[in-house]
Amino acid sequence: MTGNPKQHPNLKIFETDDGYVVYHRETDRVHFLNHTAVLVLELCNGRHSVGEMIAILGESYGLDAPPEKEVINIIDKFEKEGLITFNSGPNTTSSASR
């Protein structure tokens, strides 16, 4: 599980005002994401490492401490549900646990 996370190509995303409804065409499952999960999924574009995502979200929300545990938990769930895959792009710097 190294590399940069990237959205699975077979996702169909429907936006609501405060979240996403995501249909995975391959697994035929529907996922419901809150605002924070949406931000993480949006950052899963293959260009950011998990470590970078933690830093971006920490800055975006003006948090005192980087939301490492929260982001890793979401990434884990996304991966288990097949919403993301990991590539080995140029930015492979990751958080310590990855």
Binding site: K12, F14, T16, D18, G19, Y20, V21
Partner: protein, 263 residues
């Protein structure tokens, strides 16, 4: 919808199944069945073919009801459906969505006696951003009557039937209360997701749209093999409606809450 019988007693029972709703699309019109009584047994025939025979008029009525529901389901198989009662107030259509036992039938039946127009108690079909109530008789349980005092005198004139899940039910529709009954396409203004509370208060809580979408999609059925358009339609219905989760306690407060949201 045609049900013909040569038995007067059964004819009266079969009136309980007739759909009197004015319908944009009369799904039930395709239904035609004949029941002949011979040697004390009822023979149910459809398209000239014998389906089954019984000597129990109640059982025959319930069988024909299931047959009608089967044909309705066949007619409507191309539509995704939401488990929701449907009505309108102040010219605005609302849904009472929720799981079995959430209180849809009880609350929508109470609405009927509170100046609210009532269309259906169980499911709506979805077409784009429009919905149409399933033109099905309401299944009102005996235990509902004490909650709706004005239903009492009407209930006394209805026939109750056994169910597989316990309490007897009566087949009921708005015309039994002297009201108009329509099944027409229309846009949704407000969605209430019902959560049983049975406490001392009724309250409507706001939830994020993505959570409301989850609750509505979870209460929807008959998706296509490729459900993307239907999921999109359901999401748009949610995002373009006012929404709230109603925790149902006293019904009079629930009626007030519905009216306030639709004013």
């Amino acid at each position: 919808m045609t049900i013909v019988t040569d038995c007067e007693a059964l004819h009266l029972r079969l009136q309980d199944l007739r759909i009197f709703a004015e319908q944009d699309r009369p799904f039930s019109d395709a239904f035609s069945v004949e029941v002949l009584k011979k040697d004390g047994r009822y023979t149910i025939m459809e398209g000239g073919e014998t389906l089954i025979a019984s000597d129990d008029a109640e059982w025959v009525t319930l069988y024909i009801n299931e047959l009608l529901n089967f044909h309705l389901a066949q007619q409507m198989r191309d539509y995704v459906k939401i488990h929701a009662a449907c009505g309108s107030f102040n010219g605005k259509r609302f849904l009472l969505a929720g799981a079995k036992g959430a209180g849809k039938t009880t609350l929508i039946t109470r609405c009927l006696f509170e100046g609210i127009t009532v269309y259906g108690d169980e499911k709506v079909l979805v077409r784009g951003q429009d919905v149409i109530p399933l033109p099905r008789k309401f299944h009102v349980k005996e235990g509902t009557v004490p909650l709706i005092p004005k239903l009492g005198p009407i209930w006394d004139n209805l026939t109750s039937y056994p169910t597989s899940h316990g309490p007897r039910v009566c087949f009921f529709d708005p015309t039994d209360a002297g009201c108009n009954w329509q099944a027409r396409w229309g846009k949704v203004d407000t969605i209430f997701y019902l959560e049983p509370d049975h406490g001392d208060t009724t309250r409507v809580e706001t939830r994020p749209q993505w959570l409301m979408a989850q609750q509505i999609i979870t209460q929807s059925l008959d998706f296509d093999v490729n459900p993307e358009i239907q999921i999109s339609d359901l999401c748009r219905i949610v995002t373009e409606s006012k929404t709230g989760v109603m925790r149902i306690g006293p019904l009079d407060r629930a009626i007030t809450a519905i009216k306030e949201m639709l004013l």
